[in-house]
Amino acid sequence: MNGGVSEGLSGDVSGGAGSITGGAGRTGSLAERWYVPAEIQALRVWIPFAALVNLIVLAGEALRGGGSAQLGALGGMVLLVMLWWWLPDGRRRWRRTVGRGLAAAMLVLGALSLLQRDASFYDLWATSWLVAPSALALYWLSAGLSGSWCAGASDARSAELGLTRNRRLGPRLETFALHTFLLHAVAIVVAPVVWIVDVSISPGNILGGAIGDAFTLEHFRVVLGGETFWLWTRNSMIVALGTTLVGLLLAIPAGYAFSRYRFAGSKGAMFVFMLVQMFPGIIILVPYFMVMKTLGLLNTSIGLIIAYSVTALPLCVWMLKGFFDAVPRALEEAALLDGCTQVGVFFFVVLPLSLPAVAITALFSFLTAWNEFLLALVFNTSNDSYTLPVGLASMIPATGQLWGDFAAASIVVSIPVVVLFVLFQRALIQGLSAGGVKG
């Protein structure tokens, strides 16, 4: 900030020395240092982003191979960079003229490419990233307080007024940019979801086509009316519930011991539990498969339950340790003084208090087992023993590629999982960071 002040002063001095036009010039120079309209500040940040988006559009046009549209995007990008380079500084008037010229050229370019392109969603989006920045720049460079600042015509009074205005306008513009950015992120995130819903309600197995152009429930009828889907659901349910139960039975006592006791080997054991999480699954995959094959546990739920409950075990132990750490020790000590045994303390004091935490850990291991793909793929070779992930994936390479049925089944499978996840997101993330991340 200090640097800014001294620069402003020196700029003022040099302005004074260089020209004898008088007060307006000097205050203009001073205003340039002290006051930059929020609009111009915004343009300084936004234009590079707009240029970046036009670069992406350029890549899209290169895929498309449309020559004139490529030129449009390239031209837009170049003009944006030039505009950014010559943005008005509140002193040199020519910059405003140049800036307005560039913005106007971009606007024309945008209008032309809008006429050239089809009126598809993508095209509208692509041109709007040319039209909107140029229109905004043109407006802000021409009109209002920022316009006169660009012309180098702002004096001390208008700078003072502008500073007050900046305080209000700056955050607003920032919020606008933030929402624009987040909406783009949301669009990218939501696209597959919208697509899958569309495919599930479109007749046949059409992958493209307009969104929401036809409606049918045939895929849901086929999937929910058939036997295989329910068979896979049953398998998944057995495996996930079994995993949760076995995993918790193993993890709760261990997590409690790590949380409460310091015993010989406790540090080593905790380190081992953390290290195991980092092991590549693939190194266990082949031996697992061979052991399960030897023991005849392929194509059974038991094999998967054993494998899952052990792979999820380390994280569960760490999660539970984190949760148990949060239960105050004073309660236990009080119970011990009242004559409760150590085992009794665990069952009657700690466990009831940490039931929500146990539930979160249970949900976590349930979701892990419910969504696991690789082990299920390797362990299950017959259609009847598939879990949902393997079953759903098998619908795609099958002859005819049952995209519609797959989409319908996916929606049925995802909804409960997503609802559970969203409802308990905070607790899940808290548990995860207590377990895996902070480690």
Binding site: L63, V186, P192, R260, R262, I284, I396, A407, V413
Partner: protein, 509 residues
């Protein structure tokens, strides 16, 4: 997938039923031999060598549905024949309305047959029945002597039982099965059970020893601790440490699909095979490119989104956060398959662009696409972790900075980022390891394709998906175990280097 369909469709226009992992190795699925008996009711019979089994020959039959066809007779002989009289009747498949019949599962019958890829319908007597509008069925013909060629013909018969094709001019197909009897001997479970027993025993002994040590030191409070830890530790020992050691041992043996329980020690031959394979450096390089680019994008985008969401007074924060969490909440395999569909030549991405590009066809574009999809999947996790870390930062720090007129960028650069380093280092390592080990995205998008060469990793194969292919598509368990050991060493080496460079050993341990 597509290439498989094309390759087999080229011969006689039939698509053979073959195992579900045939994918890019369609070439090995067996040569299809066809026969078209002269006449209107011609049908095409092909022998599927990929599906052969002990004393079984698998045939696929394709034909044009016709009301005149009342059934099929399968005839076979151990030499060439032309007339029905020279061949024995093996079995029959009846054509009838199947609405009231059941599909009997494969394992419930001796003679297995399928229609539309599902077990065939059977009548009350257990005989196979195919519906009148079907145009194909297939059967595994049992009782075929192994190692000898068999001539097989399928004769369509009318309602009166008379052949609809000329019974004197049959053109049988030749098939043989060379599969040795796999049912004998049943796998010997004793070594595995013995090893598991030993592992459990040593875990118990270790715990007992530690407990004794505690007791000697007079730490009576923790006397229950070892018992609490015992179940988890024993489970971990038997199901994680034992398989890891077993896997390391497998790396030095000739274990493969046909050998189970009688692997022999072959020294470093598997490692030699790994180092001799031409794709080793390419696939290793791609794996690192894949993991590093993913982690960079995850951390960068996660951080940007976390900072954006963390802005004070942001309206709709909960809504944004919930939606942006979706890639994490939706089961991963479903979103990957959805992207697979969207990126098909007739998918949504192309519909939006108005093009018909096959993103998975070229090596370069396929690599970019798998990385982009995985970035989509992984950002929310990073976003949430960093959001949590951001919220834990004291807000008065920023208030002070604001009063001092520190710009937003400088606030991020000098306040936020250094304070996040403690979270970023371990999380990015974890993310690296997860991405390095991830399998679903590549398997469900490309299966490692585009194809490069037989036995070589495909253009988008990472080490992990390649090991999967070596183990479960080629059945070379020993070589796969050797790859696994190398991967393990690579990961340990990388993690160690990373933690040393970032000086975060303490943060991680």
């Amino acid at each position: 997938m597509r290439s498989a369909a094309l390759a087999s469709a080229g011969v006689c226009g039939t698509v053979a039923v073959a195992g579900r992992r045939v994918a890019r190795y369609a070439g090995t699925a067996g040569l299809l031999l066809c026969s078209a008996a002269a006449g209107v009711h011609a049908q095409q019979v092909s022998v599927d060598d990929a599906a052969q089994a002990y004393r079984q020959i698998h045939i696929d039959v394709d034909y044009a549905p016709d009301e005149a066809i009342a059934g099929f007779e399968i005839r076979y002989a151990s030499q060439a024949f032309e007339t029905t009289g020279d061949a024995e009747l093996h079995s029959t498949v009846r054509v009838a309305d199947t609405a009231d019949l059941e599909r009997v599962p494969d394992d419930a019958v001796f003679e297995r047959c399928w229609s539309n890829g599902l077990p065939i319908h059977r009548d009350g007597a257990g005989n196979p029945v195919v519906s009148p509008d079907a145009s194909n069925w297939s059967c595994a013909l049992t009782g075929m002597a192994p190692g000898v060629e068999q001539w097989i013909a399928v004769v369509t018969v009318g309602a009166d039982g008379a052949p609809l094709v000329d019974p004197e001019r049959l053109q049988p197909v030749v098939g043989r099965t060379d599969v040795p009897d796999e049912r004998t001997p049943p796998p010997d479970t004793r070594p595995v059970l013995f090893a598991l027993g030993m592992v459990i025993l040593s875990a118990i002994v270790l715990l007992a020893f530690l407990r004794w040590q505690d007791a000697r030191r007079g730490r009576s409070k923790s006397r229950l601790a070892h018992i609490y830890v015992a179940p988890a530790l024993i489970a971990l020992a038997t199901l994680t440490f034992y398989p890891i050691l077993y896997g390391m041992w497998l790396a030095f043996t000739n274990a493969d699909q046909s050998r189970l329980g009688d692997e022999a020690w072959i020294g470093l031959a598997n490692f030699a095979a790994v180092f001799a394979s031409s794709g080793l450096w390419r696939v290793t390089l791609f794996t690192f490119v894949w993991a590093v680019s993913n982690v960079f994008a995850h951390v960068f985008l996660g951080l940007v989104l976390a900072v954006a969401l963390n802005r004070r007074g942001l309206r709709g924060r909960t809504v944004y956060r919930t939606i942006l969490l979706l890639p994490w909440a939706i089961p991963g395999y479903i979103s990957v398959l959805a992207w697979n569909g969207m990126l098909q030549p007739d998918g949504l991405a192309n519909a939006l662009l108005g093009t018909a590009i096959d993103f998975f066809a070229g090596a370069g574009s396929a690599r970019v696409v798998v990385i982009l999809v995985n970035i989509w999947l992984g950002v929310p996790f990073m976003m949430m972790v960093l959001s949590g870390a951001l919220q834990a930062l004291p807000s008065n720090m920023y208030e002070a900075a604001e009063i001092d007129g520190v710009s937003r960028w400088d606030q991020f650069r000098y306040l936020t980022f250094p304070n996040l380093k403690g979270t970023l280092v371990p999380v990015s390592l974890l993310s690296f390891i997860w991405t390095f080990n991830s399998f679903n995205t590549i398997y469900l998008l490309t299966r490692g394709n585009p194809y490069v060469g037989f036995g070589e990793p495909g253009a988008t194969d990472t080490l992990i998906t390649h090991v999967f292919a070596v183990a479960f598509e080629y059945g070379r368990y020993g070589v796969a175990a050797a790859w696994s050991v190398l991967i393990f060493l690579m990961l340990i080496g990388f993690s160690w280097l990373y933690l040393r460079r970032t000086g975060a050993m303490e943060a991680a341990t």
